[in-house]
Amino acid sequence: MVKVEFLGPIGKETIEIEAATLSDVAKRLKEESDLAEWLDKCAVAVNDTMVSDLATRLNEGDKVSILPPVCGG
């Protein structure tokens, strides 16, 4: 199981899912209708490191963070 957390304004509770790669996470999250407006503009971190490859492998207990559009300052 990996943990998927939704940051900032997404306002969705953390979920736990089975996933061997980020591809699996993508497939699973596309089923969630409340994420439809978010996924195409969100970045992704695995264990707090930003990632850019769907083939990224995940291990038991990993944390996947979904980061919506930002505006610091």
């Binding site: 940051l7 304004p9 996470v25 596309k30 195409d40 970045a43 980061l67 559009p69 930002v70 300052g73």
Partner: protein, 144 residues
Amino acid sequence: MELYDGPLDVKEIFGRWLDEQAASNYGAYIPFVGTIRAEDGIEALSFDIYEPVLKAWFDSWQEKAKARGAVVKMAHSIGDVPVHTSSYVSAVFSPKRRVALELIEEFVEDFKANAPIWKYDVKEGKRIYAADRSTPMDGSGLLA
């Protein structure tokens, strides 16, 4: 990297950073102070921060700055920051003027684009995500 609940004490931060670098033989010190403007009837802005990724972002900037002989610093607010108070201070110290001027621009622009911070307007006590002013981080859309 310094995070504070509510508005920043800008003078304290400016002066402390100045003192910390007093012996480092820098030639140029450029702070950038971001202050909440009164507009669109807001009472305040409010901020969420994801600290672990912000820390990684800032650490990578410290390395980039070091490679150019410079030092970067930053402070940001968490939660509500009323209009006409400050939520953000960053700074560059460098031996050289040109490096300092270039770095402060790159640092502030990359901060706006990639620091994991979410902004909300506060109106009548309600937090409203500033969607129209927010930017997808580099690499967004990976899961879409």
